[in-house]
């Protein structure tokens, strides 16, 4: 890559960081209460919240790891990336009920929702918070690692320095303006990703001539070898399933679609919406923006396959290079948007997960343990914890690469196992009682830890599928076998809404 190209990419990306910081700084004037700081509760319209949701869901893994998997193993994972209808499904299932909870009590975090639904049950709140913390810290570490290494490599800097420059700025604006700044910067970063998607799709059609040409090239290429690396081609890698076991594709359909309703970055956005009747509109905005991100991952992986199959570039040493290999071949415009898009994806997800981790550590767990703190003091404590967690995460992510890799197996499924019994069952079914949800949450947490320790589940299903399934079953069975919880009238009104 030429020096001019590097300079332009870095300038463009740093401009995005500066704009994000300015938005975060500006947003502090909107932080007028602890509910605003921790949850942006009832503050924003569907366009802003929708873009923010897409940005928070689409992580650096979506933009780098998914095209890598598509390049290496074919189309199986497109079931995950083409799950744009999942937002409407999530809002239909839980949207009005979560938003309604903010009308019956103070809601600024998932812990508050749990308190309202389960009579301040400490065990439920702590187990859910711990599982959320594990899932969120894993995601956070993965975002920081991806962003720091990419820009460290690009600038010739130590990744730790790059990490502090990018994510240190992020930690500062998150500490200043909390979820308000987080949500607004995520909306901006979501917009960057959408624009990047549009640009890259146009570039893809210009270079390849369309998907038909890619299919033709991939079908005819056979084996391509260069620099000692061989890439085998077959038309089958471009069918719906690719070369992974098809049961994995099944998981990559069911977990992201149904799991969207259990993701903290989606649930927290349900109560951030000002008017609950705007949720269908928000479903449309998230679907459109998610479509552009999904399309981006497909065209860069197809583009990389086409370039290798036609001999225009050598086979990739590592699938994760697919997006960069395509952008580098396409030229400076594609490079500008790809690098900025990856950075936007890493920053938007990182800010959301940093905020949730900080809220869990500084607010939800102390509250469940009986430490009552005034709202103003809670905000002060959270600001400090946001900065401390930010610094620890940056150092940990960059220096403990292997551990981050292991933690990376946590994520979507772990978060789903934390929230599904508590919120989905709890807000759809009035017989989901404290004991049931408590045991479901405890079993979920234990199984997550056992899986983390290396327990092998039967078959080819990803382990989190088993954990989600068992924790749901435990919740329902224990709820049915134990005494029904008497709900207050407000909760009944929410569940009936």
């Amino acid at each position: 890559m030429s020096t001019l190209a590097k300079t332009l990419i870095v300038s463009f990306s740093f401009l995005m960081i500066v704009v994000s910081f300015l938005i975060g700084w500006w947003a502090k004037r909107k932080v007028t209460s602890s509910e605003a700081y921790f949850g942006s509760t009832g503050m924003f319209g569907p366009f802003t919240v929708g873009l923010s949701s897409t940005a928070a869901v689409a992580s650096a893994f979506a933009l780098v790891g998914v095209p890598g998997l598509l390049y290496s193993t074919g189309n199986g994972m497109t079931f995950w990336m083409l799950s744009s209808a999942a937002f409407a499904m999530a809002y239909m299932i839980l949207g009005k009920k979560v938003r309604a909870m903010a009308e019956i009590g103070k809601v600024a975090s998932l812990g508050d929702l749990s308190d309202l639904r389960y009579n301040n049950n400490k065990v439920i709140k702590i187990t859910m918070s711990l599982t959320l913390f594990i899932g969120c810290i894993a995601y956070l570490a993965a975002q920081i690692k991806a962003g720091s290494e990419l820009f460290g490599h690009l600038l010739g800097w130590d990744p730790l320095l790059a990490g502090f420059v990018i994510f240190g700025v992020l930690a500062v604006y998150m500490a200043i303006s909390g979820e308000v700044g987080g949500l607004l910067t995520q909306a901006f970063q979501g917009l960057v990703m959408v624009v990047a998607g549009i640009v890259i799709v146009v570039v893809f059609f210009n270079i390849t001539g369309g998907f038909g040409e890619v299919l033709k090239a991939v079908s005819q290429a056979g084996e391509v070898t260069a620099n000692g690396i061989t890439k085998e081609f077959s038309p089958d890698i471009l069918n719906a399933w690719g070369s992974m076991p098809r049961v994995v594709s099944m998981t990559w359909m069911l977990i992201p679609i149904l799991g969207t309703v259990g993701q903290p970055q989606v649930i927290t956005r349900m109560y951030a919406l000002k008017d609950p009747r705007d949720m269908p509109k928000m479903g449309l905005y998230t679907a459109i923006s998610h479509t552009m991100v999904g399309l981006l991952t497909i065209v860069v992986s197809n583009g990389a396959l086409y370039l290798v199959a036609t001999g225009k570039i050598a086979p990739l040493e590592n699938g994760d290079r697919a997006i960069y290999a395509f952008a580098d071949y396409a030229g400076i415009v594609a490079q500008l948007f790809v690098y900025a898009g990856v950075l936007a994806a890493a920053m938007s997800s990182a800010s959301l997960f940093l905020s949730i981790c900080s809220t869990v550590v500084s607010r939800d767990i102390p509250d469940a343990l009986g430490f009552k703190v005034e709202p103003e003091k809670q905000v002060r404590i959270s600001r400090i914890s946001m900065l401390v967690l930010g610094v620890i995460s940056i150092v940990f992510s960059v220096t403990q690469g292997e551990m981050v890799g292991i933690l990376g197996t946590f994520g979507w499924g772990t978060l789903m196992s934390a929230t599904f019994p508590v919120f989905v069952l709890g807000l759809l079914w009035n017989k989901a009682n404290e004991k049931g949800v408590m045991w479901g949450s405890i079993v979920g947490l234990i199984l997550n830890i056992i899986s983390f320790a290396g327990f092998k589940w039967p078959g080819a299903l990803p382990w989190y599928f088993n954990v989600v399934s068992i924790s749901i079953a435990v919740t329902v069975v224990v709820s049915l076998l134990t005494k029904e919880q008497v709900l207050n009238k407000k909760l009944e009104a929410v569940i009936d809404l």
Partner: protein, 152 residues
């Protein structure tokens, strides 16, 4: 469609579906699992859209049912065309895509958005009308006032 008294049965059914899908997944039975997954999602959505225990027929028949049909067909075609054209160049394409993947793009992705996302917009009042929300907010206020009165 009235769900009153049926919610527990539906939740039990969804739980059984989770376990069956997991068991089938262990045994690599992917296609049936995907069909059952659609049923699982449909049941959760039915529970979610219900107002005072009642499901809007418009939402059910013009949004949820078409969505379920489109997805089941797309999974079937994705599998069918993958088998028909296994190891060979397909004799036709869908938008330039392998027919198996074309079924996913057209049915699962675009079809999913047209049936769920777009129809959710069209029938948004069937999900939550202004009257529903205002009634809910007023009800909460009434409960608050009653509780305050009781406290005095």
């Amino acid at each position: 469609m009235d769900l009153t008294g049926k919610k527990t049965a539906i939740i039990v059914l969804t739980t059984i579906l989770w376990l069956v899908i997991t068991f089938l997944g262990w045994n690599d039975v992917y296609l049936v699992s995907m069909y059952l997954g659609v049923l699982l999602m449909l049941l959760y959505m039915v529970l979610g859209v219900a107002k005072q225990g009642k499901v809007s027929k418009k939402l059910f028949f013009f949004c949820l049912v078409p969505w379920a049909i489109v997805w089941i067909i797309s999974f079937y075609l994705a599998d069918y065309y993958a088998a028909i054209f296994a190891g060979i160049v397909p004799s036709f394409t869908v938008l330039g895509l392998h027919p198996s993947f074309g079924a996913t793009v057209v049915g699962y992705w675009i079809g999913g958005m047209l049936t769920l996302t777009a129809m959710f917009m069209v029938f948004k009042d069937e999900w939550l009308s202004k009257k529903d929300w205002d009634n809910f907010v007023n009800k909460i206020k009434e409960i608050d006032e009653t509780e305050k009165g009781g406290a005095h």
